[in-house]
């Protein structure tokens, strides 16, 4: 075992250009709120898709903003994207249509798609026109990604896909999927061998999307069934049978962002509103502890963003941010509920707070499951420490 216990969290402060951008983003969001596009006090909006809104966001240059200009990007820094992401998240802005494409699908295409595909698809993401879905989990494999069975079989100038993907958020509105399909059996030496990433046009014949309703009553994820779905050769992303090599560096991007600890932030704001300017000792102390945790998480997350911008690969640090962040945002509604227990029922925002707590309580269980479970993350951290 080679043990490595030196963690690294550089003290990154957002540079001045980020603060100018932040003012611009806040002004834009305030206008949208005034126009009735969404309501920051209504967390449902943060989970909603709004094509018109996404197009206006795109017009500001805030989708694909770190990508090369020739693909429609803005060649801005990862820290600038960080500012946009956190301001949108805190405002509960309806980013669902473009968020997955912006965060992870676009970067995968940038790295692994052939040039003509990049030229075709990336500018459309940047214009806020297309929605992406991630096709990884299957009925028989979730966290165990490399057990995927959905098969892509070589045929002529492309591949035929058969199988089922599940828990696919957005599949019912998505234009494209980045899917992980089996192109060869695993080998004895490497059980991760044999999977390949593909770009799939969701309008291809043979794709069926079946809704799965969540315990909240909402419809967000789906089952996607593939029956002899043709995917052309130029839609292969990266190395055939070698998708496992492509996953690691993207994880830090996907796992350490502000959306990994701000998902239930609105209940904290509403608690502060409900407590008023002079809370009792119990509430004030409880609030102080929550604020300390949140500030620390944000500083960790900004640190990882800065290290990524500097070209490092803080995979362990990114996993730590998601592990601590998702557990915190999951527990936050419960803590707020305790601290609000003895508040004056006549307090003006009491109803808003209770509605928000009810919403947050129903979505809380998913927070430590989506995008890598707590257990998977701790495994990655343990591997980073040299224990596996």
């Amino acid at each position: 075992m080679t043990l490595t216990t030196d963690l690294r969290f550089d003290q990154i402060r957002l540079p001045e250009e980020c603060e100018a951008l932040r003012r611009e983003v806040r002004a834009f969001l305030a206008e949208e709120v005034d126009a009735g596009t969404f309501d920051p006090g209504q967390p449902e909006y943060g989970d909603a898709h709004d094509a018109e809104f996404s197009r206006r966001v795109a017009a500001k240059g805030w989708i694909g903003m770190t990508w090369p200009k020739k693909y429609g990007g803005g060649e801005r820094s990862f820290l600038e994207r960080y500012v946009v992401t956190e301001e949108f998240r805190v405002a509960n802005a309806p980013v669902r249509l473009h968020f997955v494409a912006d965060r992870q699908s676009g970067p995968i295409l940038l790295k692994y798609a052939p040039e003509h595909i990049k030229m075709e698809v990336l500018p459309r993401i940047c214009r806020g026109e297309v929605c992406f879905v991630i096709g990884m989990s299957e009925p028989g494999s979730g966290s165990d990604l490399f057990a995927a069975k959905t098969k892509a079989t070589k045929t002529g100038n492309g591949w035929r896909v058969n199988g089922t993907k599940i828990w696919t958020s957005n599949a019912h509105i998505a234009d494209y999927m980045i899917g992980l399909f089996r192109t060869s059996p695993p080998t004895k030496e490497n059980r991760r061998h044999g999977l390949t990433q593909f770009l799939v046009d969701m309008k291809t014949p043979g794709i069926r999307v079946n809704p799965i309703y969540q315990m909240t009553g909402r419809h967000d994820f789906n089952e996607v069934v593939f029956e002899d779905v043709f995917v052309p050769d130029d839609h292969v992303l990266g190395e055939i049978d070698g998708a496992w090599k492509q996953a690691t560096s993207e994880l830090a991007y996907e796992r350490s962002g502000p959306e990994r600890f701000l998902e239930t932030f609105y209940v904290l704001i509403e608690l502060i509103r409900a407590l008023g300017p002079s809370p009792d000792v119990r509430s004030a102390e409880g609030l102080g502890r929550l604020v300390a945790q949140l500030h620390t998480l944000r500083r960790m997350s900004v640190s990882v963003a800065g290290m990524l911008q500097a070209g490092q690969e803080p995979v362990v640090e990114g996993s730590i941010v998601k592990d601590l962040g998702t557990i915190w945002e999951q527990k936050l509604p419960g803590r707020v509920r305790e601290l609000a227990a003895f508040l004056d029922p006549e307090a003006t925002n009491r109803m808003t707070l209770e509605e928000q707590l009810a919403f947050a309580a129903t979505i809380a269980p998913k927070l430590t499951i989506q995008g890598g479970t707590t257990e998977v993350l701790r495994g990655i951290i343990a591997r980073g420490l040299g224990l596996r």
Partner: protein
């Protein structure tokens, strides 16, 4: 086993240099295994002399006042290293005292010093005749200190005073780690020197500085704790394999890493903020209070995990683990209990109002 070099700050060249100097001195004079076996405290004097000779004890005193003239950032680097060795001499206290005196233009004497008050509720009064009256508890290393740097309330505002040992009554007890803590009583004590505190340097600001110092030391101790615990888990065999191979143990170690990361980040962020702020504003309060609250929580959680993984051997006097876990736990009490800082921070956030909360957070 080598000692960890932290990645806590964006360390400057000078910071690296003083950090390396401190690490070398601690490795030579305060190796945890060696001092844990020592029959007496003679090693503490040798360690102190080496630290003083290298200029580290008066790191925050300007060169023209006889100190090393290190920047605040470089001084925090020294304290991070001290934390990684679970320092048991009044290095941090002397640095803080020297810094406080220097802020008022008072030259620092040689020898160990400590800081009064060290708790939020305590208050010392400077009467018009120039003598001090009042009582302060929880003063770290009060017995070892040859001088006290005191912040007192005078008729014209906050005042800094240098007081020699012997001018006050002292009751000594020991903290969790066995380090001395004193209750200091001034009964019209005569200071050696008195000067007005600079504008903005309030008792709250002083305690915030102390709280950040303890947070940085705690983060350092946690870094060592992670290293000790991971190495122990990799070496210890049970059920025919290293216990580090068990998933349950791996997840405990991953949680420990998370606590260490949080403490490092919160403490590093606060130190970075203090080192670059001219005033004690809401941003400094957010950073300093968060550092104390989060590092104290990490100390508690981290100590529990480290002990659980070490099993019975970690509960022995012979093993060095307690040097780190008990000292971190003791540090929670200094310069404001984490509950004190949570209360101050919560009240401040509430007073600013809901709409001013995110802008404050995002400004950091």
């Amino acid at each position: 086993m080598g000692w960890p070099r932290g990645g806590n700050f964006n360390v400057s060249e000078s910071g690296k240099l003083v950090g390396e100097t401190a690490a070398r001195i601690f490795a030579d004079f305060a190796d945890p295994g060696t001092v844990n076996r020592a029959k007496d405290d003679a090693w503490k004097q040798a360690l102190w002399n080496a630290l003083a000779d290298a200029g580290l004890t008066l790191a925050w005193v300007p060169e023209e006042a006889g100190g090393a003239g290190a920047s605040l950032a470089d001084g925090f680097e020294i304290l991070g290293v001290a934390g990684r060795f679970a320092v048991a001499v009044p290095l941090a206290e002397t640095m803080l005292a020297g810094w406080l005196l220097a802020r008022a233009g008072i030259a620092a004497p040689s020898g160990p010093m400590t800081l009064v008050p060290a708790r939020p509720g305590d208050s010392i009064a400077l009467d018009p005749g120039g003598s001090l009256t009042g009582r302060a508890g929880g003063v770290p290393f009060a017995r070892e200190a040859r001088h006290l740097a005191v912040m007192a309330k005078g008729a014209t505002g906050a005042t800094i005073a240098l007081v020699a040992a012997g001018e006050y009554r002292l009751t000594v007890h020991r903290n969790l780690a066995g380090d001395t803590v004193g209750e200091v009583t001034f009964d019209r004590a005569d200071p050696l020197q008195v000067a007005a505190a600079p504008a903005g340097l309030t008792q709250d600001a002083l305690l915030a500085m102390g709280a950040v110092v303890r947070s940085v030391e705690t983060a350092g101790a946690l870094e060592t704790l992670l290293k000790l615990t991971v190495h122990y888990a990799a070496e210890r065999v049970a059920f025919e394999r290293p216990i580090a191979k068990f998933q349950a143990v791996q997840h405990s170690l991953a949680r420990l890493a998370g606590e260490v990361a949080a403490a490092m980040t919160a403490a590093g962020s606060a130190a970075d903020t203090i080192a670059s702020s001219a005033v004690f504003d809401d941003a400094v309060l957010l950073e300093a209070a968060s550092a104390k609250i989060r590092s104290a929580a990490a100390a508690e959680e981290g100590a529990a995990i480290a002990h659980q993984v070490h099993g019975a051997i970690g509960f022995t006097k012979e093993h060095i683990l307690h040097r780190f876990t008990l000292r971190m736990l003791a540090w929670r009490d200094d310069f404001g209990h984490e509950s004190h800082w949570a209360l101050v921070l919560g009240n401040r956030i509430a007073a600013r109002g809901a709409d001013a909360f995110w802008p404050l957070l995002a400004s950091r």
